[in-house]
Symmetry: C2
Amino acid sequence: MARIPGLSIDPASDAPVYRQIADGIRAALDEGRVRPGDRLPPTRALARQLGVNRNTVVAAYDLLAGEGVIRSRTGQGTFLTGGAEPLDPGAVEAGAAAAEEGWSGSFSRAVDGPGVERLMSVYRVAISNRGISFAGSYPAGELLPIDDFRGAIDDVLAERGPEVLAYGPTAGDPGLREALVATMRRNGSTLAADNVVITNGAQQALSLVFRTLLDPGDEVLVEDPTYTGALSVLGSLGARVVGVPADDEGPRPDALAAALERHRPRLMYLQPTFHNPTTRVMPEARRREVLALAARHHCAVVEDDWAADLRFEGEAPPTLHALDGGRHVLYLSTFSKKLMPGLRIGWIAAPFEVARRVVALKQIADCGTSPLLQAALVRFMERGSLDRHLDRIRAAYRERRDAMLRSLGRHLPEGVRFTRPAGGLFLWVTLPGGLDSGELFVAARQRGVLFSRGALFHIDGRGVDTMRMTYASAAPDRIDEGVRVLGELVRERLADAGRGGGERVMESVPVL
Amino acid sequence: MARIPGLSIDPASDAPVYRQIADGIRAALDEGRVRPGDRLPPTRALARQLGVNRNTVVAAYDLLAGEGVIRSRTGQGTFLTGGAEPLDPGAVEAGAAAAEEGWSGSFSRAVDGPGVERLMSVYRVAISNRGISFAGSYPAGELLPIDDFRGAIDDVLAERGPEVLAYGPTAGDPGLREALVATMRRNGSTLAADNVVITNGAQQALSLVFRTLLDPGDEVLVEDPTYTGALSVLGSLGARVVGVPADDEGPRPDALAAALERHRPRLMYLQPTFHNPTTRVMPEARRREVLALAARHHCAVVEDDWAADLRFEGEAPPTLHALDGGRHVLYLSTFSKKLMPGLRIGWIAAPFEVARRVVALKQIADCGTSPLLQAALVRFMERGSLDRHLDRIRAAYRERRDAMLRSLGRHLPEGVRFTRPAGGLFLWVTLPGGLDSGELFVAARQRGVLFSRGALFHIDGRGVDTMRMTYASAAPDRIDEGVRVLGELVRERLADAGRGGGERVMESVPVL
């Protein structure tokens, strides 16, 4: 095939070009414009046609290969397979196929144990931004403060190049740790720089803190639903995950007390503010109840405050870390959502006895986070660029939230419930009449609209009538267009009541 | 104390300023210019005195606090303790002290198990560059191609800012993976981009690949001595490490066969080229023998090729990965030594069944390495900057190796043996007459000269008469000066024969 019919890229889209290409090829397959077995154009040719760098096309093909949508054969080219089934190890190119001999049964329980299915599905992440995406929890790409950050990097390289390009302290840049201490103290926390460890985003913070505290078989309490990335780590460690029923204010104290009594968990994992995915905020009184229960049962609390600084209205309740005096609470947060995911910078604040062990694991995990990016971030903050950026995105996200609320009110039928979060990146929707968001997902995707199925965040696959919709990464007019499509699809399904819930689909997992 | 007597920084030194300050304070303590209990100047005051940024002083204090050399008391200031003993948890400031309640017995086996002592000691890493350092294995700071790299970052940010500051593919930048495939193919390897996973340096590559293959109690064969960072990961995983006796060509085939027979290990960890710390290179025939034995016993081989591209003379034997056709060998390498540690970029090449599991672990470990730094590295390579840099540092390292060899020949007495590596960053020295390099270390440090004790690389603390000396990070005249000091100290000790080996010391562990 010399070209893929109908494939084009939208320079105005906030989706990375390689994702647009991958999505376009997937759409061409879905819509019958290309067929399984067809040979794709060589990367160089397609790059020329689309006017993009060849590496961009390579990235798109690579993404599709990872999903099993395409497959290359040495010396023959790249071919479409039947769809998004997992890669057949016998079908990859000859060299690689030979390489697979003898590996079965060779893997650790971390990758072959009970958590493996969830773990493997993580690899198939393919948040698609073709059309209109309410999936993923990404900050708005077009609002990133690129020039300010480039200036910070340039200055740091010019002034301290050899230092920031060498190994740095394992626990992180001292200036960054001090800046985080100062911020957290303003929010009522008691801590010093020794309590802070810089990590590669909140995901590494979770990974390190769970590995510091958990052995296989240990029990862990979580809100259910909860962040899939936390569940994946827990699965890889062989932890036993217990979901605690919640009401509108967070985990129910009676249920929490019973679970603590029964399971004697080593820790509980909580997102008290703008909980992912439900957007719930735990009021201060509930926070105090939860902390009292945790202390009584000697259960550590991992507070994931990923949405700190993304509140655009109202007053924030104190963090668990502040309320607890930093005694039993291990606090983590990130710059990925409030600034830029590509930095890969997050942090943990923990009692020193925990923090020093986290640092030891960090050292053997990767010898420390890039000193260059940390130093540039410090410079960026010192100049006030972070504060200016936060003002800007909070205003933008409020506008987008309002746009999505208006559009939901306008286009969705009676009975659809949705939250009205005072911050964060998304809202949480519950469908009426037992409608299945999995089936809706497939239909919406064919119309170019994406969201995250609620079931993905549940421990046991419940929540099929729920969905998470990110407002942060689309402009208001696109939001209205996408919600309008969803409204049509929901109305069709309600009109044809009772049909929902039959068909099950597999799709990519939004872990972020 | 308003100032620290004798403390100064050397702008011409290649040591980061914060390390110079920390080293200067440690030296002042060692030499009695300051005493335990003395209050240090406030960071702001010391920064002004030294004419440095306050954060630099904060970093120095932080390093010393991590080593237990100093301690802060809230509202009172920062004080010198008695020395480098581990921090007493009861002695940290009140808030932190309160925070320690109830944590004992709370930790996982990863941080409290058999590997814990080694693991904790890792935190005390404090490669000191005061005076003349032959410790650590750092590339030369003054040779880093800072301007070229800044240009690459600037261009990538200008052209693809939103993309490289967003989340990237978990397995790594497709362009970087392709570039690595191309390089490895030129070296005879069979592989495709799907076989390559980008990691945060070789340390993360080791951590991920070991976690992919090992459960607690699994046996692993290693060369003894070997890289301490690998031993730390194995310790944290609860693996049982078995050292294989070696001759000048690598692990002895008879010993390897016996160990494979007896222990049925899941994997063996090898550095066939410029082995750290012995600098040994395995000839091709031995490589083939080792691979044949591994294949016969279904034992995976982890090939750590950290010094690839750092050969400055002679012909490189084929990698194990190339000889094996990528079937049983998991290959890893890094840009930390040949380019810049601060990038934190390394990679694994592995059979796809392994690579996809590594990617899953990578996703839950940290959601991927910074796309910005990866994209900048690709740009840097595309422009030929890496090749130019390699030409430059290979010439410089050869010159420095020759300088160290000359100085060793000139200043060290008969009976001291040392290797003559054709590449890499350091050489390996064996002392005569049972001299203890630990005792020598303490004496040398007081004279401002550092090296790495050989015992640190041994599984069981043997090798007390060995030392690793890095030539790469000091200029030739400094090398001669440092070796001259070592020569004097060794001669003194040989003259006073029989005294060595009595005193044991603790010092920082060079894990890199």
